[in-house]
């Protein structure tokens, strides 16, 4: 009976040696012309963004489309967008690890890399918004000659500083710890002295000792246990940036779970976008199978319903709550000058994922890929709707304003995509995109009939 229930996630009857070979092949055979093409486009995007942010730093944030009424717009939208993308990596690597989901082994490495890079992209926006980014270190509490004048621990913006820097550091450590056994594999396969030296240095002298593995597994479990509440706290705190204010449309207790669900939703669709491309380009279809795509679609569908429920309850409370300003914001979102953004959000995030109810549609990879892109767009608009439509029609009609991004803002955002894909392509080129040691561990049924952490 146990054999019947045994799930097979890796196709093609792989042996451990074959896993090593398949995963190392894209790294060892060198970049293809497709890789060079993608890399060139990404670096070009990165350079454009670099130029735009340099111009912003030297000129000031007057180069952006912000005004007195709409003080937060494109930059904070992009910040929340990228942070949200990052959350799926930690969901897959930590939360699914704690839930013993074996399928995560095929996607966790790439998803964690995605997390790290997305958090870097996110960090750029608040730093640029400071206007004087060379004073960015002022956000940390350190003894200084101004008093010491401390940062305000009552401010969610400061909590954000702690949350995001902790998130970045812990994600980086988690990712690196996961990489060590695979770096040792690369070291032992290295053909050139340079590679042997570099991978030898990075793999910390890993030999696969059972005594070390025993500690390693415990450390991995502990880091997963720390990262799981961390990821929830990070987006909760991001939502506090809005929820603790008194702006109608922001001041809502639903925000923390709503934001966390949205983050996982957007991140999962970004993982899907990247994995569908990676498995095709890198020839990893036996590892990232249609079943992997299928389970990710199901997660997206579930989280989409949560997000839809959040939209609905937010709207219901605004209508039912009796606060005229709150009610006005929600009517204005749906029927006001930026209604197009609201309806884009609803159709991308709530309606599109409903396709995933049908198993036959979950198997159409082209359709899934298109849907994942649509969801990414929709989740960007969600943040835009929350931020801009809540602000642009103030309490006083005399202060009403509109907002449109300038070319500088758009190119800065494009630049973060350049950064994202540049780093992700470098990752795929130089490091194993699939956690080899973890995949090897799920190849055969456990001889002891126990559930094993994958």
């Amino acid at each position: 009976m146990a054999e019947v229930l045994q799930e097979v996630w890796i196709r093609g009857g792989k042996t451990p040696a074959r896993v090593t070979q398949d995963v190392c092949a894209p790294i060892e055979r060198g970049p293809t012309s497709l890789w060079y093409a993608a890399f060139t486009v990404s670096v070009a995007g990165l350079l454009v963004g670099l130029a735009a942010s340099t111009y912003t730093v030297f000129t000031g944030i007057g180069t952006w489309g912000l005004n007195r009424t709409v003080g937060w717009a494109f930059d904070i939208t992009n910040f929340v967008f990228w942070i949200g993308i990052g959350h799926a990596g930690t969901l897959i690597s930590a939360i699914l690890f704690l839930f013993r989901q074996k399928w995560r082994t095929s996607v966790n490495r790439a998803a964690e890399a995605m997390t790290l890079i997305a958090v870097m992209c996110a960090g750029i926006f608040p730093i640029l918004h400071m206007g004087r980014p060379w004073f960015a270190y002022w956000v940390f509490p350190y003894p200084n000659t101004r008093g010491s004048l401390w940062v305000s621990f009552a401010s969610p913006l400061l909590w954000d500083v702690f949350a995001i820097s902790t998130y970045f550091i812990i994600s980086a450590v988690f990712w690196y710890i996961g990489l060590i056994p695979d770096l040792a594999t690369l070291r032992d396969r290295a053909q050139t002295a340079t590679k042997r030296r570099v991978f030898g240095f990075l793999s910390l002298g890993w030999t696969g000792s059972a005594r070390v593995w025993s500690h390693y597994e415990k450390v991995y479990l502990l880091l997963a246990g720390l990262a799981a509440p961390l990821v929830v706290s990070v987006h909760t705190i991001v939502s506090f940036d809005f929820a603790t204010s008194v702006i109608p449309g922001w001041h809502a207790t639903i925000f923390p779970p709503y934001f966390v669900a949205g983050a996982i939703f957007s991140g999962m669709s970004m993982v899907l976008t990247l994995m569908i491309v990676a498995r095709k380009v890198m020839g990893l279809r036996d590892y990232i199978t249609d079943r992997h795509v299928d389970v990710m679609c199901r997660i997206i569908l579930a989280v989409s319903c949560m997000v839809g429920l959040a939209y609905a309850s937010e709207y219901f409370i605004a209508r039912y709550g009796g606060n005229p300003y709150e009610r006005f914001v929600f009517v204005n979102r749906q029927l006001g000058p930026m209604a197009w953004a609201y309806w884009t959000m609803v159709s991308c995030n709530v309606l599109t994922p409903q396709l995933f109810w049908f198993p036959s549609l979950r198997r159409k990879i082209g359709l899934v890929f298109a849907a994942s892109l649509v969801i990414n767009v929709g989740m960007w608009f969600e943040r835009f709707v929350i931020i801009v439509t809540s602000l642009h029609r103030d309490f006083l009609p005399s202060s009403w304003a509109s907002y449109a991004p300038t070319a500088i803002e758009v190119t800065t955002f494009a630049g973060t995509f350049g950064l994202f894909f540049t780093l992700f392509l470098l990752f795929c080129r130089f490091l194993p995109a699939i956690a080899m040691a973890e995949v090897k561990g799920i190849l055969q049924p456990d001889a002891h009939g126990r559930r094993v952490p994958s």
């Binding site: 451990p16 040696a17 090593t20 509490p141 008093g147 010491s148 004048l149 401390w150 621990f153 009552a154 969610p156 909590w159 702690f162 949350a163 820097s165 902790t166 550091i169 812990i170 450590v173 710890i177 056994p181 040792a184 594999t185 070291r187 032992d188 030898g200 240095f201 910390l204 002298g205 890993w206 030999t207 696969g208 000792s209 059972a210 005594r211 070390v212 593995w213 025993s214 500690h215 390693y216 597994e217 415990k218 450390v219 502990l222 880091l223 720390l226 990262a227 509440p229 961390l230 706290s233 705190i237 506090f240 040691a437 973890e438 090897k440 561990g441 001889a447 002891h448 126990r450 094993v452």
Partner: protein, 175 residues
């Protein structure tokens, strides 16, 4: 005086587990086993005590929590209290997010640092046993040969029962 070690490699985790049982029954000293992924049941078979890394996590996390909460309290209520509409200086609820994040940061980094110190893994460290494919697909058992109850012919026949594929002898620390 470096010990002489005896290494045997296997093609599957079950062969390794069987071999571990066999050599322990014969009173051999196992130095270590080298495997491409954590093999379940190997810790028990080799008699490796469960890792106590959880304590490291706790011992780094707890002081961090106390430090973060007390520092925030000191800043808000002692060093530079600010009267905002008569609200309490010790607004402790607001200390929770930073307290939590700092705890996670210190517990995570502390656990990893402890792991690196205990296992001796460090950048640039060389491997201390010859490469017999344990980072690829082999399961390697390393026994201590010198100065222990090691009857070579008996051990070899036991290992052959467990489908050993390669054996090798080397000096400890001379990889």
């Amino acid at each position: 005086m470096n010990r002489i070690l005896f290494a045997a490699s296997f093609e599957s985790q079950d062969d390794l587990l069987a071999a571990v049982g066999e050599v322990r029954r014969r009173g051999c000293t196992i130095r270590d086993a080298y495997v491409p992924y954590p093999v379940h049941g190997l810790d028990e078979a080799m008699g490796i005590a469960p890792s106590r890394m959880g304590w490291a996590c706790f011992l780094f996390g707890m002081p961090a929590l106390i430090a973060a909460l007390s520092f925030q309290a000191w800043v808000a209520a002692v060093d530079w209290p600010i009267n905002i509409g008569g609200k309490p200086f010790l607004f402790w609820q607001a200390f929770i997010p930073v307290g939590f994040e700092f705890t996670v940061l210190c517990a995570g980094l502390g656990t990893v640092a402890t792991f690196l110190v205990i296992t001796g893994l460090r950048p640039g460290r060389r491997r201390d046993v010859p490469d017999m494919g344990a980072t690829n697909d082999r399961f390697v058992l390393v026994l201590v040969k010198s100065g222990t109850a090691f009857d070579e012919s008996e051990v070899l026949s036991a290992l052959r029962e467990c489908r050993v594929v390669e054996t090798r002898e080397f000096l400890e620390g001379a990889a």
